[in-house]
């Protein structure tokens, strides 16, 4: 018997509890709704549900850290634009520890696997650090989007009204290059 075997056997109970702990970070009316619907009529609830399921499976399989990035991203990208502070947005990772302890601690202790549990919890801590990086990247992206919208609008106007010009392509320099398309427009 190994720790992954114990956790695999209790997977549904652990993941359900983890999901419930995450939903508890939302207002009660919303939490109730996030449990239902399809991935198109309830994209937040379904993304979280699918994301934590994938994370749990990855942990049991001993997957490489990078494997978890898309799973974490699918949840954190959402929480980064909701009413959460940075710590509230990523705290859901630690709820997995709570869920495992609540559901399996007795059996883990009985099987003498506390050491393995500590190692597993260290892996969860690593995910939390990665989660914080992803959160920061999402927030930086938001600020980029804000800045770029403003910059694009202003630049476009300045160019069209002739207040700003760019260096023209030199035919002799572009000959032989991969492309000699005249760069007259900003391309997104």
């Amino acid at each position: 018997m190994t720790l992954p075997h114990i956790l695999e056997a209790e997977k549904k109970a652990i993941v359900d509890r983890w999901f419930a702990l995450i939903l508890a970070t939302y207002p009660a009316d919303a939490a109730q709704f996030f449990r239902s619907g399809s991935s198109f009529t309830n994209p937040v609830g379904q993304s979280i549900s699918q994301g934590i399921d994938d994370i749990f499976d990855g942990l049991l399989a001993g997957a490489e850290p990078e494997t978890f990035r898309p799973f974490l991203d699918s949840i954190i990208r959402i929480r980064a634009v909701q009413d959460f502070t940075a710590s509230q947005a990523v705290i859901f990772i630690f709820h997995l520890k709570t869920a495992i302890r609540e559901r399996c601690l007795g059996r883990i202790r009985a099987e003498g696997m506390l050491q393995e549990l500590l190692l597993m919890e260290s892996r969860i801590d690593e995910l939390a650090v990665m989660a914080f990086d992803i959160f920061m990247r999402c927030r930086e992206k938001l600020y980029d989007l804000k800045a770029n919208e403003l910059k694009d609008r202003t630049l476009w106007l300045l160019k069209r009204t002739g207040f700003l010009t760019e260096v023209e392509d030199m035919p002799e320099q572009t000959a032989g290059c991969g492309t000699n398309v005249k760069q007259t427009k900003e391309v997104h």
């Binding site: 009316d29 919303a30 937040v44 909701q82 938001l142 398309v181 427009k185």
Partner: protein
């Protein structure tokens, strides 16, 4: 220094929000969720009351002392004037059918984004001051006092509604939350409580003829810039006319298409199409805005801004009006224009000079949607199209809320896109046509300072795009709305990188084989067309 809590104390923090009734939960105004307050100069230009600069983050919004009477009198006036508003205030049974249909609720989980509760913010005031039960039983009857906190809460959430009407589609009573939001915003405007992203464009439109404040020479030079690019791309010189009296058709499109990519490529598509047809049409530098941000301010402001289109049509002596790709512009044209400023008896029922088709749907307004016009051309085989030029694109179509739910315009854009593109994929059924999800930035909410709001509100739409992106490799999101073209690029950048945004007539322009054109090696974005650019460099070609 503040006392730091111990880890044991932190672990005791309850994660569940307190189960308070909604009226007792004080709304916190979060940065990123709201737009800047309207500037005084813009309110003054529109002759709106209480013109002064106001900052949302300030405690004091500088509203008049008698603001409560102003709002209550405003509600009374509108209850008498709009039967719909009165019915919507009374009839809701709070069944909850609308609750999970709002994209802002789906993306945020904030219960006050449920349409039923958003309406309840105003309905509770109505009950308190206009119903016997509310006056006697107060909170028990769902009534509450109109205090400054309630006013600010209405402001916060009524500028978190894009008036998309998805909720009304599911309401068994047909309650139209967009109408309630429109009235709510009218009431706020009585106190000078608009947002600047709406007041600024509306003021520009009133003074200059378009939202962006482009003056006649700027409009002309902007279009001339497109013409220069088009000549490089097609080898064809196009010479449109401006403010030409006696033209058969006046063309009016959102000014966003003259100013920002990717809308500019859509405008280039129009220019190519009209040139190829030899259409007797003119642009106007006065009626230079199809959109109507007055519609997000008040009915009267919408009417005022809409009037310029008819006034200009009359001045120029055209026969009918052709309108560009836009969302709310078409809701105003289709549902309000004739009541606002009609009947336009001085115009003729639109008739395509190319196919002879009479557009009966526009018999009253005399204004035809350019996509309907183009669909008719394609149906009659009047265009020489080469859809293989768009073969590098895998396209899906986002139905704009206003054209789909506001005017039932569902098939024509699909017909046009499928005629000019070989690879088209629909998003899942619950997310398109009448049930389409909003871009999250409509009704004047496409500012940059409220980016978080836009991203969470647009998530249900982006989620469906992501599905077809992953399943079919979709890399282009087509639409027929200028706000979509302005807002969706950021939404895609955040949620589904790799998907670009296009207007439908950009795709038409790319596929259109023009008489006397040179071989096309680049598309309207000046990007090489795969497989064709190689020909220019002496490589193999599949043309």
């Amino acid at each position: 220094m503040a006392k730091l809590p111990k880890p044991s104390e932190l672990s005791q923090i309850s994660l569940t929000p307190p189960p308070k009734p909604w009226m007792d939960i004080v709304t916190e105004m979060r940065q990123g969720m709201y737009c800047h307050g309207a500037k005084g100069k813009n309110l003054a230009a529109l002759e709106l009351p209480n013109a002064r600069d106001f900052k949302v983050a300030d405690e004091d919004w500088q509203i008049p002392d008698d603001w409560r009477e102003t709002v209550l009198n405003g509600i009374k006036e509108r209850l008498e004037k709009f039967r719909t508003f009165h019915v919507f205030m009374d009839i809701c049974v709070r069944c909850g059918a609308c609750a999970d249909k709002c994209h802002f609720f789906l993306g945020s989980g904030d219960p006050k984004n449920m349409p039923v509760l958003r309406a309840e913010l105003l309905r509770s005031i109505y009950r308190k001051y206009f119903t016997t039960a509310g006056k006697i039983f107060g909170k028990t009857a769902g009534a509450r006092e109109l205090d400054i906190q309630a006013l600010k809460e209405i402001w916060y959430y009524y500028f978190q509604c894009t008036e998309c009407r998805r909720c009304s589609l599911f309401c068994p009573y047909g309650i139209d939350q967009a109408e309630i939001t429109i009235i709510g915003r009218e009431l706020l405007n009585l106190l000078g409580l608009n947002i600047d992203w709406i007041a600024g464009p509306a003021a520009n439109c009133y003074r200059k003829g378009n939202h962006l404040g482009l003056e006649p020479h700027t409009i002309k030079s902007s279009i001339e810039f497109f013409l220069s690019d088009l000549e490089d791309i097609t080898g064809i010189s196009i010479e449109p006319t401006f403010n030409r009296k006696g033209a058969e058709i006046l063309f009016v499109t959102p000014s966003g298409d003259l100013f920002a990519d990717p809308g500019t490529y859509t405008a280039m598509g129009y220019l190519m199409l009209f040139h190829e047809l030899g259409l007797d049409y003119t642009w106007s530098t006065y009626a230079s805005e199809g959109g109507n941000f007055g519609f997000f301010t008040s009915m009267n402001m919408a009417k005022r801004l809409n009037y310029k289109i008819y006034a200009e049509a009359k001045r120029l002596g055209v026969k009918w009006i052709l309108g560009g790709e836009c969302g709310h512009m078409w809701r105003v044209v289709h549902q309000y224009m004739d009541t606002f400023n009609g009947p336009a008896d001085f115009l003729e029922v639109p008739k395509s000079p190319i196919t002879g088709t009479v557009f009966e749907s526009a018999k009253s307004t005399k204004m035809v949607h350019v996509v309907e016009f183009t669909a008719d051309l394609i149906k009659h085989n009047k265009l020489n199209l080469d859809p293989t030029r768009n073969d590098h694109l895998k396209v899906t179509f986002h139905d704009s809320c206003n054209t789909s739910r506001g005017m039932g315009f569902l098939e024509e854009p699909r017909y046009v896109i499928k005629s000019v593109c070989n690879h088209f994929y629909e998003m899942p059924e619950d997310t398109i046509r009448e049930k389409t999800f909003c871009c999250g930035s409509g009704s004047g909410l496409n500012a940059s300072e409220n980016m978080e709001l836009r991203m969470r509100g647009g998530f249900p739409r982006a989620n469906a795009v992501r599905h077809v992106h992953e399943k079919h490799g979709v890399n282009m999101l087509a639409n027929i709305c200028a706000i979509d073209r302005a807002a969706l690029p950021a939404l895609m950048d955040y949620w589904v990188p790799g998907v670009k945004v296009t207007g439908t007539h950009e795709l038409v322009g790319n596929a259109l084989v023009m008489k006397g054109e040179k071989e096309r090696t680049v598309d309207l974005r000046n990007e090489p067309i795969p497989g064709r650019a190689a020909a220019e460099e002496g490589g193999e070609t599949d043309v």
